[in-house]
Amino acid sequence: MAAFANWGYTVGDPAASEGERFCAGLNALGRLLAVGSEWASYATFVPTGGARKAARAAAEEASEQLGRQGARQAARQLDDEWVRLYRAVSPEELDDLMKSGRFRPHPEGLSTEGKWFTTTPEYAAAWAKKHLYRRKPYWVVEAKVRQSVLSRMFHIERLDRIGPGYYAYPEQLPYIRFVGELDYIPWLP
């Protein structure tokens, strides 16, 4: 209360009621949040209509502010859209993905701790077919990741002269969602 008393009385018109001066000291959202609080209750006890008027004005202003914030948040989410990534995996890794529902380092610590992804099923298949699993079965799996996470992953524009590679650090793996395995292997010449 001391803090309230200190700034509450230095803001606003000295001739105004205590409630009005109290509310004037808060921004619109603060004023809205103050409803039901000890301080707002204090304000509404002031025997004038000023507090109620101030509270209504604050509510309207807060509503506008929330609307603007909502619009900004929606715009940010639109920017932060999901991006699809692909990865060729062995049947064992697919099995682990199915069981755990997530990408994770080899449970026995036998691999590098992050994982590589690429941007199309064709690139994933190119690495798999030509270099990783040439004569062994493999699957291409689809994942999705927020643009904001993708932009922090290590990126090589043209790895092996094949295509783009994105490396997810171990701490980024939880942000990569496993979508599912493709039911086809892209045809490669």
């Binding site: 080899h106 691999s111 590098t112 701790e113 270099h131 043209r158 790895l159 002269r161 650090y169």
Partner: protein
């Protein structure tokens, strides 16, 4: 079978900071990008098969091979140095000691089908 594949024996020294990208000592086969010092503009995926556990800050021996075999003759040259990348960080260095030609079956035995510990 004709000797169509190329691999190399290399001396490798992993940096202690490599811990972020890989468990040390490195005992199992991994595939990770490397940067050959004579071709610094590109990164190439390389199999690394330790011949003995590779401890940080100590030189050890490994068999190595770049994925893309058609470029192997120009990349894996005796005396060539390369930086080993674990994700976005350089986690070690290597020097090619011997370049060895082999057939596909041998190559697959060493690098591709080395067992369950092979993962990228």
């Amino acid at each position: 079978m004709s000797k169509t594949r190329l691999y190399a024996e290399a001396n490798i020294c992993l940096f202690p900071e490599a811990r972020r990208g890989v468990k040390l000592p490195l005992c199992s086969t991994i595939a990770t990008p490397v940067q050959f010092h004579s071709h610094p503009e590109e990164l190439w995926s390389m199999w690394i098969v330790p011949e003995q556990p590779l401890y940080p800050s100590k030189w050890g021996r490994a068999k190595v091979a770049v994925f893309v075999q058609e470029y192997a003759p120009s990349l894996m040259v005796k005396g060539e140095r390369f930086s080993i990348w674990f994700g976005g960080d350089v986690g070690g260095e290597g020097v090619i000691q011997n370049v060895i030609e082999c057939d596909e079956a041998q190559y697959d035995e060493i690098f591709r089908f080395a067992g369950r510990d092979r993962q990228r």
